[in-house]
Amino acid sequence: MNKNLVSFLVFVVGLAVFHNAIFPIFTPKPIGWILNRYVYYLVFVAFLIITHFVLRLKPSIAMKALFVWFLGYYFYDAILFPPIPWTLFITYMVMWSIGVFLYISQDTDSFREFREPIVKTIVGEYKLAQIVVMIAMPILVGFATYKSIYPAYQEPVELRTVHPAPPATTKVHGITYPLESTNNPFRIDEQDKYKDSFPFLDADKQEYMKYVTEGGTIFFQNCHYCHGDQLNGIGMFSHVFNPTPANFIDPGTIAMLQESFLFWRVAKGGPGLPNESTPWSSSMPPWEEHLKTDEIWKVVLFEFWYTGHHPRTFGTEGSIAGSEGGE
């Protein structure tokens, strides 16, 4: 029997069994370090390699490229969870396809071998394949055209700058603050992360914790409806917003910012954003209209304390300031 065909059957049948039976049955819902969907996927890949090794199957380079490409597709489409947005999926697949191309074109022989079935299909040596391609191609093009002109009712995607550059100064309650040099007046001490000091509402413990507790009280009175009681951006109202409220736990949000940046953002809210951050689509109110200056600072203090992040500082870095950001 043709070894290419056997190899193809091993791949297709293996994938079908894995996808429809093994994976749904055995993959645990809570993701563990060992028992998780990614490890199962690696086990499946190992199964394919070992089966080919044991059966001494040596598929052609074109077949190998097909397998590798499809394994990437399968990973990004079905394994990676939760599903990634379409734009990212396309980007990843383009990269994966480039990688597959580098693999098949690493030397003249492998590239020639890869092209061989394509050339034979084009020149008509593989008659059946030629007929299939000739029928499938117009159908695919037609389908793609249909999909592209069919009206969509979704909101258009927009590029939004989440961390805009702050202004040099901001005026809150009549006082002008230079953002680069302003520090949180309540950061009199830096200790006691949330995890280390539970129960955390121990306001009598020290002055620093008193401010944190006051900030926490203000947060739970005003902010947690959107930003969540775990500060992870999943508050009870968060699901109706686009963009969703900021997730402070994420190392890419407040952990990268100075406290003065947060002070400015909280005080000015959505309307105070520059244009590149689409102020019209942010629903955060300008909190300076509802909170006192000290209260804003205390909320900021609480957010850092709770998440365990340290505010970004620039003055003390010396020679190691860097290109943090990574929008």
Binding site: L88, A165, A168, H239, N242, A321, G325, G326
Partner: protein
């Protein structure tokens, strides 16, 4: 590897390392040297100020004649702004009469095109003499051992210089166009800039004259100085001088751009404070200079490579194929050598930008320019793909490479995985429906790739992989015979495995540190990568001593895919260079000179990504059309010589 001679590759590698060290050492030590010089200068200036004030007090004139003002950037040791005597006029408040425009295009676009085209050509003509210097030096060194190979090197350097000569005139013409565009469209701003940089501009013009003189003597004296060994060394020395003058020229021109971005030596009103060195040596001057030198090397290598690749693909004879294949290799060798340290120079520049104004840094990396940085990440990935593809294909045609080819697919896998991390954006573009499915703005798995800890790790691993690929390429046809071969291999393996482990460890560790400490981890990561480059290459080359050959490289047998990879690299780099230039310049937003001279023209806006992309593509296509013309002009005289060349001259690389 650069022919049949083993010493040539050693000499070439050492030459490149030396050249890089020449550029990097001043960069690395400049802070210390600058501080010392700065201290002396501050001391002298303060002493002078006291003297003047004391004298005025004695004379009892009452009011001081010299007005002193505070520098916008420089500070003394106590952190107070440095004072200097006011020696210029305040920056003008520019109005409609300070700007001119044509109806067919905005002035901003015209100055952009003029500037970019001049920079592209300037970059090329500064890079080519660096290659010629190295190649000619190798030619001289190999003269006695292998005269044919030596002649080949010499010929190559001469041919490159011929092209550079045409490009040089072209650069000067484009420079003239840039100057006229600037004067005519932005007269108000030019007047202010000229008022401050007056002496620099004159020195620049004189240096240009010196550059031209040396260039003509160097090129036209080539054949005459070729026979006598002493004269040949004089000739080679001229190339060093040429590069020196060229580098000074570039640094002088850089000072105008870096002053506009991060000014120094003036007060908040824009008045010149009497010290021209402060104006030139503003905070971004050093990193921009080093970054541009490395960028020029990669750009020049890419263009020469593309030129050779075109000739390789269209060659009619085997000799031509062999020759141009070899030229492709030399160009790519130089190009990759420049490409490897280039990201680090970029990091240095960004560090200085953050240190100058945090706001500017955030605008670049997290603000309005952030999406352009994502595009930059994609382009850099393409460069590494192209470089690795060329190396894989180049390695495949070397006898004995079968021992290493099997590792290529794993290196490709690693590159792809790293690239996936490298370019995953922190903020993902998605529809509201997708947002709901994902459960929040951050993905629980790939969301971790959005911060610099992941990105630094990815790019360092990509560079390390490229270095490894290059090391395997170097030894592809060599059978190592030194007694310490096993130990050497173990060392190389240990260096790379250890480096990968260290880079990954530091990357993961970064997630557990505050942001200000996390960014500091990039330094040991970079050091680790550079260790693989220098230590790995050094051990590898040392192992070639008395090695046996599986057979010489069969020049002229490079695959087409590998050759097309050179085009990809050259075009991508041209586009990337334009992109980064645009970002660096556009980050000033509505300022001509940051926080000093406001751009009050109708063009003081930031382009959308699409519009910027169109301009970059136009600039790329436009410059490549010009390069084709320049190469065609350069080849007109070459065709005659080819006819005259005696037949039967052995092709050294095929022996």
């Amino acid at each position: 590897m650069l022919g049949k001679n083993k010493r040539s590759i050693t000499a070439f590698s050492l030459g490149l390392l030396l050249a890089m060290a020449i550029y990097l050492v001043p960069g690395m030590t400049s802070d210390a040297i600058a501080k010392e010089a700065f201290a002396e200068q501050v001391f002298a200036e303060e002493a002078f100020a006291k003297e003047v004030l004391a004298q005025e007090a004695v004379e009892g004139e009452g009011e001081a004649e010299i007005e002193w003002s505070q520098d916008v950037f420089y500070r003394d040791w106590e952190g107070n702004p440095l004072k200097g005597p006011v020696s210029g006029y305040p920056a003008p408040e520019l109005g409609p009469s300070d700007y001119n425009n044509y109806d067919f295009a905005p002035s901003r676009m015209l100055i952009w095109v003029a500037n970019q085209q001049h920079l592209y050509f300037g970059s090329f003509v500064l890079a080519v003499p660096i290659f010629c210097m190295l190649i000619e030096f190798i030619g001289i060194r190999t003269r006695e051992e292998d005269p044919i190979m030596s002649q080949k090197y010499d010929r190559l350097a001469h041919d490159l210089m011929k092209i550079s000569l045409t490009a040089y005139s072209w650069t000067a013409i484009l420079g003239g166009i840039l100057l006229f565009t600037f004067i005519t469209l932005f007269p108000g701003f030019f007047k202010y800039l000229a008022g401050i940089f007056r002496p620099v501009m004159h020195v620049y013009a004189l240096m240009f004259l010196a550059e031209s003189g040396i260039l003509y003597v160097y090129y036209y004296g080539w054949d005459r100085m070729n026979q006598d060994p002493f004269l040949k060394w004089i000739h080679a020395s001229l190339s060093v001088l040429l590069n020196l003058v060229g580098t000074i020229l570039m640094f002088l021109a850089n000072s105008w751009a870096t002053f506009m971005q991060a000014p120094g030596g003036i007060d908040s009103e824009g008045r010149f404070l009497g010290n021209i060195w402060h104006v030139i040596h503003s905070t971004l001057w050093n990193p921009v200079g080093v970054h541009r030198i490395l960028g020029n090397i990669v750009f020049g290598g890419g263009i020469v490579g593309a030129y050779a690749a075109y000739h390789y693909l269209t060659a009619k004879t085997e000799e031509d194929r062999a020759h141009y294949d070899w030229v492709c290799y030399v160009a790519m060798f130089i190009c990759i050598f420049g490409l490897i340290p280039l990201p680090f120079a970029g990091y240095w520049l960004m560090k200085e930008v953050y240190a100058f104004r945090q706001q500017m840094g955030i605008t670049l990396m997290g603000g309005i320019m952030a999406w352009l940085f994502i595009i930059q990440a994609v382009m850099i990935g393409l460069l590494f793909f192209a470089a690795n593809s060329y190396l894989h294909n180049g390695m495949a045609r070397v006898k004995g490479s079968h021992r290493y080819m099997k590792y290529c697919k794993y290196m490709v896998l690693l590159l792809i995985v790293c690239f996936t991390m490298w370019m995953t954006p922190h903020t993902i573009v998605m529809t509201p429906a997708e947002l709901k499915v994902m459960g929040g703005a951050q993905h629980p798995v790939i969301g971790h790739f959005g911060v610099m800890s992941a990105k630094n790790t990815a790019v360092n691993l990509m560079i390390t992989t490229t270095v490894l690929c290059f090391i395997l390429y170097q030894r592809a046809n060599k059978k190592i015979t030194v007694p310490w071969a096993t130990a050497g291999n173990c060392w190389i393996a240990a260096i790379f495995v250890g480096a990968a482990a260290n880079i990954i460890f530091l990357g993961v560790y970064g997630y557990y540190l505050p942001a200000n400490q996390r960014v500091g981890l990039s330094v040991p990561q970079v050091c680790t990568t550079l260790t693989t480059l220098f230590a790995g290459t050094a051990i590898n080359i040392s192992m070639f001593k008395d090695s046996e050959s599986y057979g010489e490289v069969k020049w002229g047998s490079q695959s087409k895919v590998g050759t097309y990879a050179i085009f990809l690299l050259a075009i991508s780099f041209t586009w990337l260079m334009g992109l980064m230039g645009y970002i660096r310049s556009a980050v000033r937003l509505f300022w001509h000179v940051t926080e000093v001279v406001r751009d009050n023209s109708v063009d003081a806006y930031t382009l959308t990504i699409g519009e910027a992309g169109k301009m970059l593509t136009f600039n790329t296509l436009f410059v490549w059309v010009q390069f084709v013309v320049v190469f065609w002009v350069g080849s007109l005289s070459g065709k005659k010589e080819q006819v005259k060349a005696p037949e039967g001259v052995p092709v050294p690389a095929q022996q």
